[in-house]
Structures are given as C-alpha cells and as structure tokens.
Symmetry: C2
Subunit: 887 residues, 2 copies
C-alpha cells in the first residue's frame, strides 16, 4: 500500500516537508493551531476564544476571522490554561468520534504555538461527500463542443498545463457510496483533491464535534484556541501555486483570461467567483471604454463647429454679464468665458446623451443578463468543472428559501453571548432568537447613528462648499490680477483634492463604525452578519463618495437666487454659481479626481503598502538569528503562520462596487470613466492575484453559489444609474435647453442665438444697496443692464424677474425627458434581456449533452438490472392483446 501511495504523489525530498503524518502514510488534511503555555508569551499570540465561535465565523464569513476588533475582545478573556486543555481534549475526543485521526505537534519550533494535524480517512471522506452531495467526476468522459469563440481566444487563454480539460470533461454526478461503480476510485488518495478534503473536514465533522444539532440543542461547550487554521499543501498544490504564479499573478500577461478553474481549485469557490466576476466585469468595461473614448473624441472634433461656444467666443457679441461676487467683483464680458464654454462642449454634446443611454443599458445588461448568468453558466459550468456549484436551487425565490433554511439550520447562532463572553448556552434554537424588544435599542442606535453619519457627510460637503466660497471671495479681494485669472481653476482643484482626502479618511472611519454597529445589532447568523455589515458599509461609503458629486450635479448653481436677490450663507457669502456652460465640467473634474485618486491612493497604497508593512512587523517579532534556521526546518504549514491572514473579499468587492457606481451613475458627465476603470481593473486583477498567492495564508475553501448581496447592490446601483443619468442629462447638461431652443424658439431652426436666449436681463439699479460692484467702470463703459444665466422675465415686463414662460417650458421638457429616458431604458433593457438568451447556445447544448449522457448511463445500468430485479409483484408474463370478447 505504501508503494501505491508513493506512486500517486511524488514527495519532496526533505521528509519534514511532506504533508503527511509522521508515519508517512496519512495525509494532513487540516491543521489547527492553538496557544501553548509559555512564560514569555506575548499578549498578541495568546488570543483565547471559543473555537465554536471562531469556527462558526470561518465557516461562512472568512472576513470576520482574524478580525482585529474581535481579537481585542478575545484577549480580554483569560481562561486558565488547564481549563483550556480540558476543553481541547474534549473537542479532540469529539473529532475522533467522528472518525478523524489526529497528530499533535507542540510548539517546539515556533514558540508558543501548537499544531494539531488532522487526517480524514477514506470512509469519513466518503460519508461526508455523500452527505454533502458533492458532485464528483465519473468514469464517463465526454468531448466538449468545440466552440468558435474558444478557438479565436485560444491565445488569450492561460496555459494551465492540462490541455485535456479544454476539450474533454468528466461527467460528474453526486457522490454516493451505493453508486461507487460510477466513479474512478483507482487512486483513492487523489479522488478527493486537497481543497475538497479540507472542506469536507471543516464542514460536518467539526460542526458535529462542537455542537451536535440533534434535538436542536448544543451538546458540548468548547474552548479551544485555534489561532490560525491552515492546511498542509501537497505536491499537486505546490505545482498549482507555481502555475498560478506564472499564469495569473503576473503583470506581463494582463491581456489573458484568468485560470479560473485553477483559482477555484486552489482557493475555493468564493474566491474563484470573485475573480471570475472581476474578470467578466473588466471584460465588459472594454466596449464601454471604447465607446466612451469615441464619445470624448467626438466632443474634441466637433468643438470647432459648436455654435453656442462659437457665440460665446465671438468678440462681436458684446454681452455684459453681472458680477460673480458682491462689491469687489465687477461686470465682465461673456467672451472671457470662452475657454470654459469650449471645454464644456467636450463633455456636453449630443453624443453624451447617446452615451448615457448606452451606459444605462450597459449597466442593466451587465447585471441582469451578462454578468450574472455568464458567470454562472460559463464559468461555473466550464471552468469550474462544476463538482460543487452545479446550478441547483440557486436563484430567485428558492435561493432565499434555502438561505433561510440554512440560516435556521446553523446552530451557531450569533446570540448576544457571542459578544459578551463566547459562552454557548444550552439554548434551543428558537430561544436563541432575540425578541424584537431586545433588539429595539440596538436598532434605534443604528438608525440614529446612520442618520447622524450621513448628516456628517453632508456637513463635510457643505464645509468644502464654504471653503470654496470663502477662498474664492478672499482671492477675488486680492488685487493681483494674475491671481484672479487662475482663481477658479485653483479653488476648484484644491477643493476637489480636499474632498478626496476627506473621502479616503472617512472611508476608513465609516468602515470601522459600520462594523461596530453590526456587532451591536447581534445578527442571527453569519450570513446575516456579513450582509448587514456590507449593507451598512456600503451605504456609508457610498454616501461618502457620492455626496460631493451629487451636490455638484444637482444643487450647485441652482440655489443662488438672482441678481439683486442673491441667497447668502453664513452671513455674507453668496452660494457658488456654475461656470457659464453649466456645472457639467466641474462635475467632470470632481469625478476624475475622486476616481483616479481613490484608485491610486486607496487601492495601490493601501493594498500593496499596508500588507507589506504588516508582514515586516510580523517577521520582526521572530529573532533574526532564528529566522534563517527556521526557514530550513519549518514545515509548510508552520511557515504559513507568518503570512497575513485572509481578511475576506468584502473590501475588494466594496472597492469594485464604488467604482461601478462611478462608472455608471454619472457617466453622462465623464465619458472617460470606463476607460480609467478598465485600466485600474487590469492592474487590480494581477495585484489581487499577487496578494492572494504570495502575501496571504491560504483561505479555507468556502462553497459559494453566487456573489450574494453584492449582486443585489449591483442591481440596485444599475437601477439608480438610469434615473441619475436621466437627471444629469436633463438638468445638469444644457442638452434640453438647446433642443427646446432649436425646435421652439429658434427663428431659423439652428442654435444661433441660443446663448442670448439663455441669458436674462438685469437692471443694475435693482441691486440691493451695498452689493453693487464698486468698480462699476471696470469694463470702460457705464453698464445699465447686465445679463445673467437664468430664464426670468426682463425688468421691463409686467412681472419682472419672475420665472418666464420659457423656464416652465424647458422645465416641462426636462421632466418629460426624464420620464422618456427612464422608461425607454427600462423597456430596452427588458427587450435586450429577451433578445439575448440567458445561456449561450453552446452551453445549453453542452448541458443537454451532459444530461443525455447521464440518462444513457443509467439506461444502460437499467438494461443490466431489468431482468435481475426480483422485488415487485409476482407479475404474470405480459399479456399479448387479448381478443375483444368479454361479457
């Protein structure tokens, strides 16, 4: 038997690095670590906690594992070492009862840390695999339909070595001990791969060992301190890691597809799904980026032919504008706004509207059809080779049904005990559910806190506005002329940067607060803990990132009043106006800075820099002398101890979702957003890959059927994007006024005269006393009537300075546009949904073939069994048709 095994897996030469027990026979499937008493143990290493609690969190929410806050709480609990040892032994006994085999290795190499190596024997693996209904490959091989697309993209495929996989596939079927003849069991050691083995070990036996859910009661209390859970890698895995390094975590192959199958094999479904999703999203960004660039170029090309900006820049149109600030500013010529008007055209032209519709559809489509189903169908079915995550009882209603069922099935309810002292009480399931009244204070606090935090965000935005207004006024007062010309640009840019810095700081703060609030809420299950945490974090971070942008898009320049009756804040500061050609350009600058800044600083600095720093800190703890010595003698799992813990995928998802928001929500004002996002993501994929491969401990393979709440958030965002884009186009851009002018008011059906049309008249004698410009002769002539951008009746009408008929007509047109836009996009989205089949044709043929093969397989079996079957009625031999002659 020893011989057969060594044939199956080549072992590294140094026997210490074998992923086997000391007897060299039994493979290590799972390693638990715990704290061993040591007089000089630092606080950091002596985290003591209930394994129950720890384990429960890992089971479905890896992010919570190794969480600094909880770890801090854990430290407060100081159980006696003896007590711990007793509990550990009880736990081990339970594991042994489940059929697992163990080997212990106590802190002789790394001081203060003991390792408990676990091996699952064949029968345990079989039992649990049957119980989990794992789909395992059968004997049957079938050839994949050779897809045209696959051929074309052959060069883009990563070289994962196993060429066979691309054309052939093993038919898989839920494992059952009664149907063993279906499966290729010739090499029992490799039938279940290491990821499957460890997830088998970590799923059922553990749960049962801790708290057998029979009768809905918890059988044991358990206090073991596993500080680190990692697994012994085998040779195949080291090989996989090598391939992953070369074919995935490398910037030089950025143009290639990711080896999703391999990622899934090594890291489990949840991580695989994240990268699959990221890949599909990035891929989908390509068309968006291309169209965005074209739209931008169209703006560049047509800037010379643009009648409104030509009119603004035309020296002959001698239009005198009202001063932009009180007293110190004077009247100015419209022609000085020529540059801004031309620049605005780049982002505010007919193509923008088309682009907004395109992107709204794109977003909807990305969510509804392509992203979700393509991921599910294409990636799960093909690359994943689908043993686990076969499309089964997954989506829609039944998804929720199952989640609920699971939620209730999980005995590790997140009772209040979890926070106060990790004591699992002998509660029945239902008793652990807190009542509404118990939860009320927490809920109230949460609501109040959330409202307060959003108010804080608003206050910050208002603060930045005040900064802009006050600095602007101060700069206007300065007499240096060179200063004045650059005022706007300077203030805008500095304000945007301040905004960015605040956003980045508050992001971290809000993340921490959201976690705190969620812990206070005491959700029932991990799933709900994670979902609530994500939801809160999302709301806060989203508000944080988008409030300044929303302000710019919809409020700035709309609440300024009118000349002679300006609205003032903080005593004497006038609210800011937009530049002549609308706020779209400023919105664009803000978006650009926020997006680039966030991506550069947050992603790259935080994601690369901080983990590096942490790693350095961790390694400094070990004496440098020991370091080298340890390197040689340590087992793989012991080395992994020094890697960073896996903190979950939520930060990665959150980053992407905020980016998705930037790309879709205000895309009408910034057509280059998809391009920036695309560039960022191409780097991001490889960056994350590197991080996963080299910086982090290998996460426990978590089964996942979909990307969960993130999908809900994505859908929500893409819905909101439709309405936001509609409003941006109709209210922030000048598209509708131009259209209305062209078809309702223009004498010759062109835009000539549009600029004049948008400006109202103001009689300078109507200035409030003390606000008229001091240097009224600045332009060299006496101004009697100045112009301002608004649709109001002229001073000489019956109703001076009232909103004019044009104002209402344009408002109606704007609102009508919103309705039309929203409903057209919704309709088109449904239509496209209907047009594009959810499942690509070749995949559906594939699925059909697979089904047929299974049917055939069973039919053959039946043919064999048919006449051997002895149970049943003592049926007389089949009657041939009997003549029709009875009474």
């Amino acid at each position: 038997i020893k011989l057969i095994k060594s044939q199956g897996n080549e072992r590294p030469k140094d026997p210490k690095l074998w992923p086997y027990f000391q007897d060299g026979l039994r493979r290590i499937d799972y390693v638990l670590t715990y704290h061993v008493q040591k007089p000089q143990s630092t606080r950091k290493l002596s985290a003591k906690s209930c394994l129950c609690f720890k384990f429960r969190r890992e089971q479905s929410s890896p992010p919570a594992h190794e969480d600094p806050e909880l770890a801090a709480q854990e430290q407060r609990l100081d159980y006696h070492e003896d007590d711990q040892r007793l509990r550990r032994e009880e736990f081990e006994e339970n594991l042994r009862e489940m059929g697992l085999e163990m080997e212990r290795e106590e802190g002789n190499k790394i001081p203060g840390v003991g390792f408990l190596k676990i091996h699952a024997p064949w029968e345990v693996l079989c039992r649990e695999a049957e119980f989990m209904k794992l789909k395992m490959p059968t004997f049957k091989v079938f050839v994949l339909v050779n897809m045209f697309v696959q051929k074309v993209t052959a060069t883009l495929q990563p070289k994962v070595g196993e060429n066979r996989v691309e054309n052939e596939k093993y038919l898989s079927y839920p494992f059952s001990r009664e149907k063993q003849h279906l499966f290729d069991l010739s090499d029992r050691n490799s039938f279940f791969d290491s990821k499957t083995r460890s997830s088998i070990v970590s799923t059922n036996p553990f749960r049962k060992a801790f708290c057998l859910p029979s009768q809905g009661q918890f059988k044991t209390k358990c206090h073991l301190s596993p500080d680190l859970i990692t697994k012994g890698p085998d040779v195949v895995l080291i090989l996989s890691l090598q391939i992953l390094c070369e074919e995935w975590a490398s910037y030089s192959i950025f143009y290639k597809y990711q080896p999703i199958g391999l990622i899934r094999k090594y890291f489990g479904e949840k991580v695989g799904l994240y990268f699959a999703w990221l890949g599909v999203y990035t891929q989908m960004l390509i068309p968006a980026a291309i169209v965005g660039v074209i739209v931008f170029l169209y703006g560049c090309v047509t800037v010379e032919d643009n009648i409104p900006s030509m009119e603004v820049c035309d020296e002959r149109n001698n239009i005198t504008m009202c001063p932009i600030c009180d007293r110190v500013c004077s009247y100015w010529k419209l022609v000085t706004a020529c540059g801004t008007a031309r620049a605005s055209h780049l982002f505010d032209n007919a193509a923008t509207v088309f682009f907004a519709i395109f992107m709204a559809l794109w977003g909807q489509q990305l969510c509804s059809t392509f992203m979700f189903t393509q991921i599910c169908a294409l990636i799960l079915h093909f690359c994943f080779n689908s043993p686990h995550t076969h499309p089964r009882s997954n989506a829609g209603l039944f998804k929720k049904l199952i989640i609920l069922a699971k939620a209730l099935n999980l005995p590790f309810l997140f009772g209040s005990s979890a926070v106060t002292g990790f004591e699992m009480r002998n509660y029945t399931l239902t008793k652990l559910l807190l009542t509404c009244r118990d939860r009320m204070p927490a809920y109230m606090t949460i609501i109040v806190m959330m409202v307060f935090l959003i108010c804080v965000t608003l206050a910050i935005v208002f603060g930045v506005v005040l900064y802009r207004v006050s600095i602007m006024t101060a700069l206007h007062m300065s007499s240096t002329p060179s200063f004045r010309t650059n005022i706007r640009a300077t203030v805008k840019t500095t304000a945007a940067i301040i905004n960015l810095i605040i956003i980045i700081i508050m992001d971290e703060v809000y993340g921490a607060i959201a976690r705190w609030l969620t812990i206070m809420e005491v959700p029932k299950t991990d799933k709900s803990f994670e979902e609530r945490l994500i939801f809160k974090t999302f709301i806060l971070k989203f508000a944080n990132a988008f409030t300044p942008i929303v302000y710019l898009a919809f409020f700035r320049g709309r609440i300024i009043g009118r000349p002679g009756k300006y609205i003032y804040v903080m005593g004497s500061y006038r609210m800011e106006e937009c530049a002549h050609a609308g706020c779209l350009m400023e919105l664009c600058i803000q978006l650009c800075i926020t997006m680039l800044g966030k991506q550069l600083i947050q992603n790259n600095l935080f994601e690369i820099g901080v983990p590096k720093l942490k790693k350095m800190l961790r390694q400094r703890k070990i004496d440098k002398k020991h370091q080298e010595e340890l390197d040689k003698t340590l087992h793989r799992h012991e080395k992994d101890h020094f890697l960073g813990p896996f903190v979950g995928l939520n930060p990665e998802y959150m980053e992407m979702i905020i980016q998705f928001g930037m790309v879709t929500l205000f895309v009408a004002s910034f057509p280059l957003a998809p391009l920036f996002a695309l560039l960022n993501n191409i780097i991001e994929i490889r960056l994350d890959a590197k991080k996963f491969v080299t910086e982090l401990r290998r996460p426990i393979a978590v089964r996942a059927k979909d990307i969960g709440i993130w999908y809900t958030l994505l859908r929500g965002l893409s819905k909101v994007a439709v309405i936001v884009n509609a409003f941006v186009i109709s209210f922030t851009s000048d598209f509708i006024p131009r259209l209305v002018y062209q078809y309702m008011y223009s004498p010759d059906g062109t835009l000539h005269g549009f600029v004049n049309h948008t400006l109202s008249y103001f009689n300078v004698s109507h200035f409030q006393p003390g606000t008229e410009p001091t240097e009224s002769m600045h332009l060299g002539y006496k101004v009697e009537v100045c112009r301002y951008k608004d649709y109001r009746d002229p001073p000489w009408s019956d109703t001076p300075y009232e909103f004019s008929r044009q104002f209402w007509a344009i408002l109606a047109a704007r609102l009508a546009f919103v309705i039309v836009f929203q409903n057209v996009v919704m309709l088109m989205s449904d239509f496209v949904d209907w047009l594009i089949p959810d499942i690509p044709k070749d995949i559906s043929i594939q699925i059909h073939n697979e089904r047929n093969l299974i049917v055939e397989l069973f039919m053959k079996q039946e043919q064999g069994k048919k006449y051997r079957n002895t149970i049943g009625d003592p049926s007389p031999q089949p009657l041939r048709s009997r003549p029709s002659s009875q009474a």
Copy 2:
C-alpha cells in the same frame, strides 16, 4: 395476494366497473383509445393521427389536445387501416419492452372506439419513480407547527375528511430503490396513487416507446390513433370526486378556502396551481375591494364640500362657455355642467391618488412577494404535501436553464412535419432545428400580421370615435330639446356598448389568428409553442380590450385644438371634447361597461352555455335507445368518453389576466373595479370547479412548478400599471391643476377661483367664418367673450391663444408628479419586498424542521453503518496525541 389487495381497496359491487384488468388483479393505470374500422363510422370519430404527435402535445400542452383546427387537419390524413394496425402493434411492442402490461378491448360497446388498458407493474413504477426523482412519503411522521392563522381560519377550511393531514405530515424523500427501507411499502398497491401511476406511465415509457432518444435519433415511426386518453378511476378517486363536488364545486361554500391538496391530487399540479393562484388572487382582491369602496364612499361624502363643483354649480358664477359644436350648438352656461362636475368628484378626489398608489403597490406586491411566493411556499409546501413539486431548481436563471435543457431533451420537436403530415423523420436533434432563414418568412408574416391587427384595433376605436362624433352632431342638429339634454349620456352609453360587442367578437377572432400564426411559426417545443401562443394572444386581446380605454384616458379631449382653430376629422367633424370636469368620468363608464360586460357575457355565457351545448350535441350522436342501456354497462372510462375534452387552462388564465389589467391599470379612475373583480372571481372559482368536476374529462396530471409565462405577464402588467396610473392621475384627472392652483396661484390658499382659473377667454369675433353659432342669442344676451377649458393666453395679451405660463407650469408639475409617483412606488415596492419576508416564518421553521429530520434520519443510519463499513483504507487505529518530539 388477492386477499391483501382487496383489503387495500374496496371495490364497487359491479365487477365491470372495477378499474382492473379482466383478471381482477392488475389495476388500470392508463387507457388509450383508438379508432376501430367500422363501415358506418362517421368522420368525426375517425380522427387519425400520429400518437407521437398527439401524445407529445398532451405531455406538456393540454390545450392543444383536441384542438378543433388540428383535428380538422388530422382528418385530411387518411391512412389505411392496415398501416395503422401495424404501427399500433409496433407501438404496443415498444410499450411491452418497457415493461408495461396491456389489455385490449375493442369497440364492442361504443362503436368504432377501441380501448387499450395499460397496467404498470411494481418494478416499472419503481424504476420510473427513481428516474423521475419523485418525492415519496417516508415512514417518518412529523407534527406541523400549529399555526395561529390556521386555527383562526379553521371554519373557512374545507372539510376534506383527512383531519390527520392538517397536523401531521409524512417526511418525503426522493424515491430510490436502494433506499427502500425508508418508505412504507406495506401496501404496494396504494404506495403510488392513481395520479402518480398514470403520470409515471405517461412520462417515460411512452416517450421511450415512441422514440428512444438514444444517440439523439428517433428509433421508430409510430402511427397509432389514440382519440381520447383517459384513466380508470379507483375507489379512492370516486371518493375524492365526491368530496370535491361537495367541498369545492358548490356555490354555497363560496367563503371557504379551496381544498387545494385534493384538487392537486385529483387533477395534478398544473390545475391545482391554477386554482391556488386564483384563490390567492381572489383573496388579495378583498383588501383592494374594501379600500376601493372606502375611496368611493369618501368621494360620495365629500361631494358637498368640493369647492370646484360648488363653483360650477353656483348660479352666481355667470360663466358663458363656448359652443361644443359648430354652428348648430350655441353658447351655454357652465352651471348646466353641474351634475357632471359633481359626479366627476366621485372618481376624482384626493383619495383617488392615495388609491392609485395603494393599488400600484398592491399589484407589485401581489406579483412579487405575496402571490408567487405564498403560492409556492404555502400551497406547494403545505397543501400539496410536496412529493413532486418540491422547491428545487425552479426560479430565475436556473428555471430558464432547466427549461432550455428540457426543451432540448424533448425528442418530440415540433418540426414542420408536425403540421404537414405528422411524419417524424429520422432526424438528429440538431437537424430538426430550423435555421433562421427557414424561419424568416414566418417571422415576417407574424410581425406584419401583428402590426396589421393592432392597426385594425386602432381603426375600430377610431371608427367608434367617428360614430360618437357623427351621432352627436346629428343629434345636436335635431331640434327636439328633450333629445339634446340626453345626448351625451345616450351616445356615451351606446358607444361603450358597441365597443364591448366589438371587443368580445374580436377576442374570438384574435384568438384564432394567434393560434394560426403560432402554428405557422413552428416553435421548437411544446413549451415554446404554448408560450408563443399565449404571448401573441395576450398582446392582441390586451390591445383589443385596452385601446378604447387608453384613447379615452389619454387622447380624448387633448387633440381638439381651440375655439377658432378646431381640429377636424373626416372633413367637418370636430374631435370630441371631454366634459367640463375632465374625461375621468367617461373613462369610468367605459371601464365599468367593459368589465361587467366582458365578465357577464364572456365568462358566464361562453363558459357555461357553450360547453353545455357541446355536450348535448355529443350525446345526440349516440342513439337514445342505446343511451340508457350503455349507462348501466359502461365502464367508467367508457362513460368519460362522452365528456368534453380538457382544453387547457389558457383561456381561464387569459381571462384573469385581462381582469387583473382592468383592476390595476386604470384603477385610479374606477375605484370599484376591485370589488367587481372580487365578486366575479368568487363565482368564477366555483364555476370552474363545477366545470372541471362534472363537464370535462379528467385531464392528465401535468407536473408544473409555477404558472409559467403568466407570471411574467402579471409582472409586466403590474409594472405598466405603475406608469399608467401615474399618467392617469397627473393627466386625466384634475388633481395636479388643483394642487398647482392651490399652492401657486390661489390668493387665499384654497381652491376658490379654481374653476375660473382653468377657463381661458375667447373673443367670439375670432371664430372661423362659418363656424360661429347660428343662434348666438340663445342665452338671451349678446356674447362677446366666451370661455373654454384650457390654459391659453387671453385674446388681449401679446400672444393671444398661445399656451400660457400656467400651462407650462402645470405641465411641468404633471410630469414631475409622474416621475415622483413612479419612483416612489418602485422604491416603496422594493421596501415592502424587503420588509415582508418571502417565506412566512412558520413555513421557514417548518422547512427547517423537515431538513433537520432528514439529517437525523440519515445520521441514525450512519451510526448503524459506521463500524460495519468495510471499504476504504486499512486505516490503523486512531492515534492519540503523540508527544512532540521528532527530528
């Protein structure tokens, strides 16, 4: 053995009526009928067709079965009797090969019809049940959570006899021959009930007998002529039928719940689901009807306090209106419109807006959460006792995935052969798929026809408008004064009735055309045939029913021009105006007549009258002398031959969906609609029940997981309803103008002066020559300025008769309202979705308990097996923790 069996089922005394073979042992599970050569056979009975084709249609689309058009086509095919017999024998041989047993009985009692009785032996049942993964009850009984609601509604529950079912339930598990020990097989005869047996027989063995899908090729051609497929009822069934008659198909128990479990047991999932759906929908109508009645009563109560109608009725407001028709009509006093104004208030008040929001949410909710999930969870899980339709791989994406897979798995492709001659060619699967080019002509025809038919609908509506206009003008010309006063009411009512008649006639025509178009389209599978047919029928019928209403709501009175510049159609007819207080009341009348008329005439007349007539016709064919004699000697299945065929549920669903449209789409204008719908549905349920129990042959039990495309249509309608209601409120009703007046123009913040505000001025000297009223002194004084309902500038302004500033302001307000309404309802709908869990709590606990029980069951098994398990590694005894001292 004979003894045991007779214990299981008591048999009727007359042995001829036993549902057993002649040997008295083997139960009849399925009966096929075919035509037997008989010299004097009438054409009607000699329908010759391929059983393949017939059967395939029954398998998933019962409506197509016994379809008159196809039957007509079938008659054209005149195969020789010999040929038929050969094919029949080949088919029987195939069935026998599948293990079924048969007994033949040739036309000795009913001339020209032969019966082939089929019995499925135990092993066949087992094999197929395992293959179909049927969930069968296990030994394990568990007690249902005693729900509070169930106790309260105890009196409303139908008495179905089996009281045990209400508190206990057998745990069910997919049947497998290897796990027979789990199931209670003590009485093999009743383990599979008759519905299950017949569906087992009809699903796999038949399919295989006809066309074994091995290698994707059809093995046999087959031409057998089963004219009628019915099943032998057993005693239990006769009992069920009795209970169904008493506890379901009776008007006197209209207030009770339906015995859904029993319906499902007897008729199968598809029919059960329809009645469940209808029941839930009717139940949901109750709150809507109550709120509707309250809203209506609110209108009645506040009619006296309504300022606008008071102003209209106030004699002191001496407002002279412009004439409503050219020349023959004269000026009139606004006070004469007092009655209409007051009546309008009943349907156009503040409560209407609330009601519209309520109903929009109701519709959304009905669809999204309540209806679908409650049906699925509550009914499927509880009443259905879920052997078949367990929530598994059902909704959303994976539903489509499975449909597709199924679609491709079905070998009975609806090739063109199906239409031309029912010849199944030896095609491979993929070859049978027509290419796009083959389909192009059909698609083009369909599109052209659909567009043409919708144009016809529009033309009809326009015709009715013309009728109204011309009759109105003609009546105005008549000099009888009593005529004139009743003109409007008469014309409105007659026009509405004409509309109704046209709608009912065209409904039938469109139904036929839709079927013809779908046959031409040659869809690939039954499922898609049915869906396409439903979709086309729906579009045509929907357009037919709603075009007049849409015209009334949104176009009437809006394209009339203005005094002095009216818009004319057909030469000299002015387009119709609305009454003073808006078109809402006329919309209401139209809706009321359409709804009541459709329900009364279409449902009751067509559904009761026509089947009765058909039955009479069928029975007249048999000689009356024979009749009584036959009654005594005939077997149950022979008697069933005279019942009407089951034509599917689509007409029933269609009727309900149009009703749902009426209830939700224009509910803002007709708050009593839900009440009428409720009353109709209460009758409808019992009517349909009676029809199913007494008038129709028992349909084949079809497994169904949901209501299919109808759900999509429902969702679509409820989405459209939101936007339509928003438009009805903002554009058809005077709600927005009132609001705008109150907050923008009213001097004292009330509605006083509103009527005056809505009327524009017209200088009578500006009438086009020849259109001024001939009797200009009709009112007794010379009119210089008359008023008309519109927002236009007065004749003395700079821009006479242009739309005024008010017009644009109100338009903007209306549009803003639409945006706000639509988005608020969408948001609220999502919020309510989020608030109400998809699955009621008790059911989720139920599901959880069930899962736990299954887990426990298997755990126990494992405990037994654990040490008996001999396969696997020769594992050494578990190692206890080894001291940590190795090299």
